[in-house]
């Protein structure tokens, strides 16, 4: 087992190297230069000045030289400084991480809290009006563009009813609030973003749940359970659910790398300081150090995810462990 893990870990090194090499040259292949310094064509910023700035940022060196320097820094876990504002790339990412992470986790919790019971109910009442109505509704939700749905909800809850704030994470006077006012304020601000981001995946997860449940309910051991005279609630929530929920657990596992991914559109609409906008802007501005940091973090996360999955499989299935 240890040997297997060791081999897998060693294999990751060239893989990561390959990913960084490919992506480094690819992002430099995209035409355009870092435009931070000239974003509005200011005639006061002369050509000589711009050439000098490129030099100061080390952009005049050859690509392999730039890659080498970047790699050297990376080995010391230094992602460099952003071309946009000279701040440490890592600092910029860490600043945004908590927002994205907490919204993603909360919306995942909300998603499963709604989707699982809904899926079960639809499966139990398969073919009834309840089932059909939810099927239609879920597909409508699935088909509705997130930004449009978000705007409608903002209009309704924020303006027509006036119950909820429209955007941002906190009120302007947040720091003067008492702690329970702060929690209330955060909850009011996060309600719509979490709801909207959960809506997007609601259809998928609840449909999974429904079909798994339907399949499980047709298994012979269900007859046994019922034949034993168990109450219907126990049959469904104890015997059927435990078997039907397994694939859902896999989905949860698969969505863990996604927890760190943000969405540009979503964050822009709710004016949230998340990670999606950070990387989108980095790409638009050709902020190379920041883009590369994103690539590396994404690659490492995905590789770790796969590794954990593989190890888990190896643990349960000896055939994988011993295969050369």
């Amino acid at each position: 087992m240890a040997g297997y893990i060791g081999r897998r870990l060693l294999g990751l090194v060239p893989l990561l190297l390959g990913i960084t090499l490919l992506s480094f040259f690819m992002i430099h292949l995209a035409p355009g230069k870092p435009t931070v310094l000239q974003d509005s064509m200011n005639p006061k910023i002369s050509l000589d000045v711009r050439n000098r700035l490129e030099k100061l940022y080390g952009l005049d060196k050859s690509l392999p030289a730039q890659y080498f320097l970047w790699m050297q820094r990376l080995l010391k876990l230094d992602f460099g400084r952003s071309l946009g504002d000279d701040r440490l790339v890592m600092e910029k990412i860490m600043e945004r991480m908590p927002v994205t992470l907490s919204i993603n986790i909360l919306s995942m919790v909300v998603l499963f809290l709604i989707a699982i019971p809904l899926g079960i109910q639809c499966a139990v009442k398969e073919g009834t009006f309840f089932d059909h109505a939810w099927t239609i509704l879920l597909f409508l939700l699935f088909a509705a563009p997130t930004f449009w749905l978000a705007l409608l909800l903002m209009q309704f809850f924020g303006i027509t009813l006036g119950w909820l704030p429209i955007s941002a994470l906190k009120s302007l006077d947040y720091e003067y609030f008492t702690w329970w006012q702060k929690i209330g304020d955060l909850a009011r601000h996060l309600f719509l973003p979490i709801l909207v981001s959960a809506f997007g995946s609601l259809a998928g997860v609840s449909r999974y749940m429904r079909s798994n449940m339907i399949e499980t309910l047709q298994q012979p051991y269900m007859y046994t359970a019922r034949a034993k005279g168990l109450p219907e609630q126990t049959v469904i929530y104890k015997h059927a659910l435990r078997n039907a929920i397994l694939p859902i657990v896999t989905i949860i596992g698969l969505s863990i790398p996604g927890l760190l991914g943000g969405s540009v559109i979503f964050e822009s609409i709710f004016a949230l300081p998340g990670i999606g906008r950070l990387f989108y802007e980095a790409v638009m501005m050709r902020d190379y150090p920041l883009i590369m940091a994103e690539v590396v973090i994404g690659a490492v996360l995905t590789m770790t995810g796969n590794l954990i999955a593989d190890i888990a499989y190896a643990y349960v299935d000896p055939r994988i462990r011993y295969k050369k």
Partner: protein
């Protein structure tokens, strides 16, 4: 006689008395009026906050490194330059009390204010100006603004409050370049500019100090009570980052923000509701920018002046403004802002005349020989591409209208939209275009040497259309040497006329700057410079204040 005398004296006494009484009544009534004026206009209250929405977050608050508009906006509240523009767009002293121009413009002597202190209480002196200047010309500093300061031959501190700047040659735009925010030497002296906490927690001399900056959320400033002009009435200035325009507009409806710029559609229609009329005021202000169609003059299609003039006749600018901006823009004939002193009002736009356009094109050899609707010359159809940048719907619409209007004189236009970074590096800088639809944001000084002088045509420079007119070249150089506005004006008026005749650009319009502001703010006086210039005079009556939590300084 005695009686008479008495009568006379009585009379004079009476008269004197009446005069005195009259004066008394006049004075009294003045007092009464003054009292009522005073009573009806209560003293200006302190307090409240002003909340604006910004599309993007600031990048750095080191003013000489800040090149984006969000950063510059915040910097302008925190810092002062030596000079600034007043409401009528003429230069006045800011940190400089006054200045003298000597040696036929070679030397400027600034006399600095003595009562100015930094936000940390330390006095502001000439050493701070010297420090800022040294950083501006330091080749190791990533500032985009060094150009104007490299023309300085010597910079001398005469005493703590006097500075002498000598230029290599007279350079009139140099004066306005001293509007560059001045930074504190005592804090930044031994700091590395690319890694200093100052970039997020600056210390300035301006009316507001930084309180907090939460990346991509908001920047909060608080008023500096010892500001040398006076304590600003509004206690807090908050800039919220709202990247989405639709959200910004929804936030106006919940009054989550106090101010925003508007699109013409929002200005005319969407804010024309009882709610907006009650809670907001709208302003239509001049904008320091214009939109144009530039021709690549080295392309044989456009090298003939008659062709460019014909194209100008063939496009109806009024229709462009009406359709794209719903009429909220001004046509212009030259490279200056309509209404500014440099703009020559005598250059009148030739009226829209497609018949004349066809005649001119015919003179230049473009005729429709095969009656297919398109003009040809030497067997080739007159066809060209307009490129413009992605993400600006307004420009794409303009291009489409021009396309349709030129079609009716037999000129075929294609439109290509390119992402901004690629647009600049691959098309503009490499002069890889036939015509380009773009805009210029102008500084308040009219000098446009970099845009129209024939020496500025290298890759990456701003005369990318390749305009060359020796007369204009000379005038541009001369105009830079003259400080007196009345005399300088003559040069720019000539330049305006010559450039209009040459048509290197088809000048399209200067869009209006449409702004909306919450109605509780008082003291706003719209002027040619806009409304923000007297922000420290803005105030809100106590009972209307919305953000009343005391800000601790």
């Amino acid at each position: 006689m005695a009686l008479g005398l008495k009568q006379e004296s009585y009379h004079t006494y009476r008269q004197g008395n009446i005069v005195w009484l009259k004066v008394f009544i006049e004075r009294l009534s003045l007092l009464v009026i003054a009292f009522f004026v005073y009573a009806s206009a209560p003293a200006q209250d302190y307090g409240d906050a002003y909340v604006s929405g910004s599309i993007a977050d600031a990048r750095t608050l080191i003013p000489i490194l800040a090149s984006d508009s969000a950063s510059s906006e915040i910097c302008s509240m925190i810092f002062n330059g030596l000079v600034k523009y007043d409401k009528d767009v003429s230069l006045v002293g800011d940190l400089a009390q006054s200045w003298e121009i000597q040696n036929e413009g070679l030397t400027i002597i600034f006399h600095l204010r003595k009562n100015v202190s930094w936000h940390d209480g330390r006095p502001f002196t000439a050493r701070d100006v010297e420090f800022t200047y040294m950083k501006l010309i330091d080749p190791g500093i990533k500032t985009p603004y060094s150009g104007d300061f490299e023309r300085v031959q010597s910079f001398t501190v005469i005493d703590d409050y006097t500075i002498k700047v000598t230029y290599k040659e007279p350079f009139a735009p140099g004066l306005s370049s001293w509007g560059m925010p001045i930074m504190p030497r005592h804090i930044l002296e031994n700091q590395d500019f690319s890694n200093t906490p100052f970039s997020r927690h600056p210390v300035g001399t301006g009316p507001y100090c930084i309180k907090s900056w939460k990346s991509q959320e908001k920047i909060e400033l608080v008023s500096y009570r010892e500001y040398f002009e006076k304590r600003p009435y509004i206690d807090r200035y908050i800039s919220r980052v709202i990247p989405d325009e639709a959200t910004t507009f929804l936030e106006l409806q919940t009054q989550g923000i106090d101010s925003s710029s508007l699109t013409p559609l929002q200005y005319l229609r969407q804010t024309d509701t009882p709610f907006f009329r009650k809670h907001y005021r709208k302003f239509n202000l001049p904008n320091f920018s214009y939109i144009y169609l530039g021709y690549n003059l080295s392309n044989p299609k456009f090298s003939d002046k008659r062709v460019r003039q014909a194209l100008n006749y063939a496009v109806n600018k009024k229709e462009v403004i009406d359709m794209v901006l719903l009429g909220l823009g001004r046509p212009l004939t030259g490279p200056f802002i309509p209404g500014s002193w440099a703009y020559n009002p005598l250059v009148i736009e030739d009226s829209f005349d497609q018949k004349k356009a066809r005649e001119l094109l015919k003179d230049a050899g473009w005729v429709d020989n095969n009656a297919d609707g398109w003009l040809e010359k030497e067997g080739k159809i007159f066809e060209f591409t307009i490129i413009t940048n992605q993400g600006n719907l307004e420009r794409i619409k303009v291009a489409e209208i021009i396309q349709r209007q030129l079609e009716s004189v037999g000129v075929k236009v294609k439109i290509k939209v390119v992402e901004w970074s690629v647009f600049l590096t691959e098309f503009i800088n490499k002069k890889n275009f036939e015509s380009v639809l773009l805009g210029w944001s102008l500084s308040r000084d009219p000098d446009n040497f970099d845009i129209f002088h024939s020496s500025k045509t290298r890759e990456g420079e701003f005369n990318f259309v390749g305009y060359r007119n020796p007369q204009v070249d000379d005038l541009l150089v001369e105009a830079r040497r003259v400080f007196d506005q009345e005399k300088r004006k003559v040069y720019y008026h000539k330049i305006h006329q010559l450039i209009y005749d040459d048509q290197p650009y088809m000048f399209l319009y200067a869009p209006d700057n449409l702004t909306i502001l919450q109605a509780r703010f008082k003291g706003i006086k719209p002027a040619p410079l806009g409304i923000g210039y007297n922000f420290i005079d803005w105030w809100v009556e106590k009972k209307e204040q919305r953000y009343n939590r005391i800000s601790s300084q």
